[in-house]
Symmetry: C2
Subunit: 471 residues, 2 copies
């Protein structure tokens, strides 16, 4: 392939092409949001995944990628893979990661429109996955298309990996990365699954929290019992379960009470504290965006650090007994809870899982049987702020959003970040164009049309800046 | 009406008639169990209630009752009422109470057969309501039929009240009793909704626990939030709910921690302790009948007293967050729990409800909104052991079961007991023919055919003994 020279005039052509395509790109995104690719419901909904994969492969080919394919993964949705290597061996190769699976949609009745019948208003595009992550990775891909269609080439080589299990903590991605390691060789990685604080405050994340998701099962009687006949004679598994759950966290300090839980939590460095200092996250904004009567969490620690640099404990759902209409005074035979802990460097999810299990076993009464199952583990991770893939983003953001990004740690978990770092041995730019009002993971998820447009423009700049920084 | 003389020979005729009808009576009971009269699902299932009412009215008329009717109750299932007053004004009038509504059936998948497709095996009759209470009140009614058809009359006058809301704590029965007070005048009341310990240990109950059923709602964010984005910044309503629930009961002593909760709990009298002494309830039997790894409840108090003479706290079900397959790391906007307290004399459910609400409000954090709703209140009650309606049962049990009954307090709640006592101003015989293995309120409810048969025979004797004791 011929070596190409990319200059500012080509950058302008790409940006112009992107502008011209904006309305058409939005229409295409509406199509993509129609696929109900809920990872938690796979394989019952395998047809939705197959349809979505086909759509993406066709779209990537049409954009000008030289190669695009849905790669089967055993017992999991396919990975969509695409490549463009026309920038030549001297140009850097960027690997773009995205995920086309989405969160479950319940409570369904809180959606104003059906989650998979997407629609637009003046400002936003609505539908499950609009922001997390279909709208975001499509912004990146439309930037690539703008270069390819607007100028005939890209200033960097691209490899695209779109997986279908991110919301299930990517159980098969490590294996995929390991098997295809040779093909996935690159000079840096982009993950655009994050968001900014508002349109004026884009963010680059230099770390994410880990996650340790567990399911606690408590069983007692062989069958559900009448609480009139047996109440006071046996311990109620739901009573025991709430005691176990309550014993995991102190109600005042919100500290996790599992012995050893905080042993590996690293204090923030002076550089990190300085970066945090300028991040404009206020308590007022926290209340505004959540609608809570008052903020919660650990007293005495600023909100911006509580949200990202401190571990947490959450109860996500409890099953057992009677939850229908009216009264049923039952002592349930079983009760279970889904819980998770957000973890920060250098907590290790494998170790935390054992600490929690040992603690629960030590406090569970002999009147019930306890079982603790691991649902998913994701390590916390940080990225190198000085890496070229990160530094290239500063100018790209300034040229598209008009400001440099803030550097923050993210509160969510991104198991793929550590997998990418470890298995592909490259630095990662972790950023994105979502906003707090997107309601990702909630009913009525949406994505700002302006962020979609600016995000794509930022990526047009980024491909150019990366080729300059890494040449 | 002519006065009739009932002697032992008529008693024999009635018993013989009952024996001859046994197989037919069982077949009829199977028909009755087919009506899905789940009180918690009324009025959606009003047709089932209407069908059941019609069936009962027809059956009562066929048995020889002079009057039988389904009496409409506003916003509630009809009350089935029947009368036979042929014994004359000098004979005592017994009011028989039963309920034709049943408990919900979930978890449905644990039923070996559909709950409303009843069937027989050699020993038992299976189906929701078999023991609680359709099988039991039908045993009483077949005893009346045996007298009426076998001898042409009964030694006592009968009034029959079958209600359809007992499992919802009888919200409309008081009104019904008040409105029809004149018509319901009687000399004593029979409630056969209870059970014995085994076929050799029939029971007469001289008290029941009360109940205070509440629903606790905790709400925080305006919508479900992503625990990665917001975890540590807001308090999770499910975390708060489990802390509130855990704070209601001490894990070691199982004591309810609501201030004032035990203030009105009456100590057992020496006579009560002596009656309890001979009741053959063992820890081994408790473990056997429940399948728990070890018994629970308050340490240091014998099982038989824990089950009946001590108040309890139970969590019956918790709603909120995600309980489907896989992982959804959500901070739910709302969480709620159904709970209840069993109460003993002289605790007052109205007062307990306010004590619990005040306590929960005092400990709930300002980061959530708390709402406590009352689902149902039932006072505890005791009956006079020396009343004729109770004493007449001793000989009837000896003549049918071969033993005198034990006297115990019951662990369940029976709001109607106090209503009957208060509104009709009469003593009550509280007994029944259920057994611990009946799985009342649980999947695969059943009723022993032998208990059904012996129970009906006991009632044939009881009508006779009552006429002797009260003449």
């Amino acid at each position: 392939m011929s070596e190409m020279i990319h200059d500012k005039s080509q950058l302008s052509l790409a940006l112009e092409y992107l502008d011209r395509q904006h309305a058409g790109n939005l229409r295409q995104l509406l199509e993509l949001l129609r696929f109900p690719t809920i990872a938690a419901e796979y394989p019952e909904n395998a047809a939705a995944f197959q349809g979505c994969t086909n759509w993406l492969v066709e779209k990537l080919s049409g954009m000008g990628f030289e190669y695009a394919e849905g790669i089967p993964v055993q017992d999991a949705p396919p990975v969509v893979y695409a490549e463009w290597s026309g920038a030549g061996t001297e140009a850097p190769t960027l690997l773009i990661y995205g995920h086309y699976d989405v969160m479950p949609v319940d409570p369904l009745k809180e959606w104003k429109h059906s989650p998979f019948e997407p629609y637009l208003d003046e400002q936003r595009i609505y539908g499950r996955g609009a922001s997390d992550d279909k709208g975001q990775f499509m912004a990146v891909l439309y930037a690539a298309e703008a270069w390819l269609k607007g100028t005939g080439s890209l200033p960097v080589n691209l490899k695209v990996v779109l997986e279908g299990e991110e919301e299930q903590i990517s159980p098969h991605l490590d294996e995929y990365l390991q098997v295809h390691r040779g093909r996935l060789q690159c000079d840096g990685i982009l993950i655009a699954d994050m968001g900014g604080l508002d349109p004026q405050v884009p963010l680059v994340m230099y770390g994410v929290r880990g996650n340790c998701s567990l399911e606690i099962h408590v069983s007692g009687p062989a069958r559900d019992l009448h609480s009139g006949t047996y109440g006071g004679g046996v311990d109620n598994p739901l009573n025991v379960l709430v005691r176990l759950l309550a014993a995991l966290q102190d109600g005042a300090s919100r500290k996790v009470l599992v012995p050893g839980f905080y042993d590996r939590v690293k204090e923030l460095t002076p550089r990190e504290l300085a970066l945090a200092e300028v991040v404009p996250i206020t308590d007022e904004a926290g209340v505004y965006f959540t609608g809570v009567p008052a903020l919660g969490g650990e007293p005495g620690i600023p909100l911006k650090l509580r949200l990202s640099s401190r571990p947490t404990f959450e109860v996500h759902g409890i099953v057992g007994g009677y939850t229908g209409e009216g009264v049923k005074t039952v002592i349930p035979a079983h009760a279970s809870a889904k819980i998770s802990f957000r973890l920060v460097p250098d907590q290790q999810p494998e170790e935390i899982q054992w600490l929690v299990k040992a603690y629960l076993e030590s406090i569970a009464p002999p009147t019930v049987r306890l079982e603790v199952k691991t649902l998913g583990l994701a390590p916390p991770a940080t990225v190198d702020l000085d890496a070229p893939v990160v530094q290239a983003s500063l100018k790209a953001f300034r040229n598209s959003f008009g400001v440099a990004p803030c550097f923050v740690r993210g509160g969510g978990s991104l198991p793929i970040l550590l997998s990418m770092q470890k298995l592909l041995n490259q630095d990662v730019l972790l950023t994105g164009f979502g906003l707090p009002e997107d309601a990702e993971h909630s009913p009525n998820e949406s994505f700002s049309i302006q962020q979609f447009q600016r995000g794509a423009a930022m990526m047009v700049h980024y491909f150019f800046e990366l080729s300059q920084v890494m040449k």
